[in-house]
Assembly symmetry: C2
Homo-oligomer: 422 residues x 2
């Protein structure tokens, strides 16, 4: 299987020829280690040659854990300038990738503007554009034509999109298994496909016609992010038959995609109680042949709307320790409204913090080096050194501002424990 990927994927071959040394260096890896992981499918190289100016990015073991920020319009909050500002905020906060999840306005214009403004890989969920055309025309989702969905994916591939969420593993059987759930199906794309299947009586076209999808993606090195349309939307739904039925499918699809020269990541939960995180992450990674795992949270409680970036950071830290590779942020706006720029900043920081916590636990050298630099500066009361080591230097400076002339912090003043023992 390992050589098939490069044998069939000329675009990936070309990117690697030009960028392998540089992208491996970004991860403190040798080109050989990176190459081996890409071939095995435990790492993917995101980057569509049609995305002008994109810096390709490695995702998966043993690269650094990455963070994605979801952006995009909604029917109730629809302004391209706002989304571009949020994009700049996400990049400044340290997001490794962004996804444009717009569902309102001129989606092609928004997407191409975002691609032009984003030097990091950009992902989408193509079914949204198809759904938008139907919903805006007050037509039911059951009228979606598989041809339209594939055509939309082909268009976005040509526009330069680097990775797409496609809910290929959501079968009729899986949707059926989800009917008794506390919260049913909470994935937007998943719920569209489930409704389409229920009303048409047909199987998911992304599953049934998977090879057609692969043929569209391959020439653009468009990486598949195999979506978890049946991820639990409530802790009490976690680990049910519907969820695992889909994971089984995703594992089979990922192996097939790699053998046909298309890179894959796997999307994971979702709402998961704390005590299930480790078992789920390890179980999913095994079933999908160690493909890079891209998790949304996991949120370890359902009752914290307004603070879901925090509920997600708890699960994300544990998920990273257990082998998750890529964190999709949650913001304080989750479950309530579209995130604003402050939410985007908070969400990226919460995910970066969770990644850092998990990587410390894994004793990754870059994580331990950051901690050592922070502690050396802290012991010396060297505030510039602390800022240099901090995940969020701007926040440190802003909070210090009123007392920046002081050697000590404004919490302890002359009671500073560090100073007391000098």
């Amino acid at each position: 299987m390992s050589s098939s990927l490069l044998l069939h994927n000329q675009a990936l071959h070309d990117i690697l020829r030009g960028h392998l040394t540089e992208v491996a260096q970004d991860e403190a890896l040798t080109p050989e280690v990176a190459m081996e992981a890409i071939e095995a499918g435990s790492m993917v190289l995101l980057g569509n040659p049609a995305h002008t100016g994109v810096r390709p990015l490695l995702v998966g073991q043993p690269a650094r854990v990455k963070v994605n920020a979801n952006l995009g319009t909604s029917p109730l909050s629809n302004c391209m300038q706002t989304e571009l500002h949020k994009l700049a905020t996400a990049l400044a906060a340290g997001a490794d990738t962004v996804m444009d999840l717009s569902i309102a306005g001129d989606l092609d214009a928004i997407r191409t503007a975002m691609l032009a403004a984003c030097p990091r890989p950009l992902g989408t969920v193509p079914i949204y554009a198809v759904g938008q055309r139907l919903l805006d025309a007050d037509r039911p989702i059951s009228e979606m034509l598989p041809d339209d969905l594939f055509a939309e994916i082909a268009k976005q591939a040509a526009q330069g999109v680097d990775f797409i969420t496609v809910h290929c593993g959501l079968s009729r059987r899986g949707a059926e298994l989800a009917t008794g759930r506390t919260l049913g199906i909470v994935s937007r794309g998943g719920s569209m496909l489930a409704r389409w299947m229920r009303e048409t009586g047909r199987e998911n076209p992304l599953l049934e016609d998977f090879d057609r999808l692969l043929d569209i993606c391959r020439p653009h090195n468009l990486t598949l992010s195999l979506g978890d349309g049946l991820r639990p939307g409530a802790g009490s739904d976690a680990g049910d038959a519907a969820q695992w039925e889909e994971v089984v499918n995703l594992g089979q699809l990922a192996a097939h995609a790699r053998s046909r020269g298309v890179q894959c990541m796997i999307e994971g939960p979702g709402h998961l109680p704390l005590q299930q995180v480790r078992a789920q992450i390890m179980g999913i990674k095994q079933l999908v042949g160690q493909a890079p795992l891209y998790v949304l949270g996991p949120l370890c409680c359902d009752s914290a709307p307004g603070h879901d970036h925090l509920a997600g950071a708890i699960g994300a830290a544990l998920a990273v320790e257990a082998g998750a590779d890529f964190l999709c942020y949650l913001t304080p706006a989750e479950h309530l409204t579209l995130p604003d720029a402050a939410d985007v900043h908070a969400g990226v920081m919460a995910s970066r913090l969770a990644a850092h916590v998990g990587e410390i636990a894994l004793k990754r050298p870059w994580a331990l080096a950051r901690e050592a630099a922070m502690n050396k500066a802290r012991m010396a009361l060297d505030w510039e050194g602390m800022a240099a080591a901090a995940l969020d230097p701007a926040r440190l400076h802003a909070r210090r501002e009123p007392h920046k002339g002081e050697e000590v912090c404004a919490m302890c003043g002359k009671f500073c424990a560090v100073k007391m023992l000098r």
Copy 2:
């Protein structure tokens, strides 16, 4: 041992006679179960009869996990009105207790005002008042007289303070063991005592004269929170000999205190890498005979100043799952400045969320009931029901405000997955 506590502590006996049924009800426990846990020392009943209007509170297994908010002035931010406003904020956000850690201004006036305004148990660190008098007079901490420290504790006991942090387990040997650390001693009270011991060559008076302390506390049911002066201040210091030397002492002191009719909690870390949290919590609880464990965080990374409430929530959730009983909040201001009211709110919410996540993992019925109520409301798109179940209903309402007339949220609009499948 079990009967000694009540045999010797007449104040506790009196409170229990008047309030046992009510405080047990607050925890969904029978009076018998509560009584047994108090006698065994696995639970404490906070409440000083001199604290007018206080509602006594059970802390420890199998009661609900509690959250404390630290308040109080600092030399660089010293205003009683501000602290009283922060107290109101902490109570409104759901803090179960507060600590007045003031180190600037008229400490007696601040403390008595806080006690009068606080119907929940209030704690202090009495050595701060002694230290303040010396530092304000530009005198070294080595001039502290043990008599002054005991007199301060006696005064605060009479004022109505419900629990005090006393670093009784910090021995000369422990302080010596901490000298090679990355960050030495980061507890303010611990660093004062360590400096005093180093400069006077004497043993810690709170350790050496522990029975004197017990005699002061007993008549007021003043509960000891045996402080961890040697808690790690950096992840790389976690689990070292200095830390465990102190825990060994704390376990012995706790057993002795109970046998003399004084209730004890144990304070725990601090900065702990993720993979150490469970082992540390279980190890400490074993060494202290299952006394209630009151943790500060634990913070699972050192490099997130400005976001330490989040670093702490990750560790706190895991700590609760492993048996921690009482969470001291961290706010976004930690390591940088004195928290303002917004920080207090964020800190209490982060700790409550962490407690909730941990209690879900432990399958505590109140935690599962909250989740079930949230999910039922979410499935019905019943926003008032969601607010009623939410940890922070005010935040939910504030974020919904611009779109409160809509049935769906402003993130998904008509793409609502829940609605799609109705």
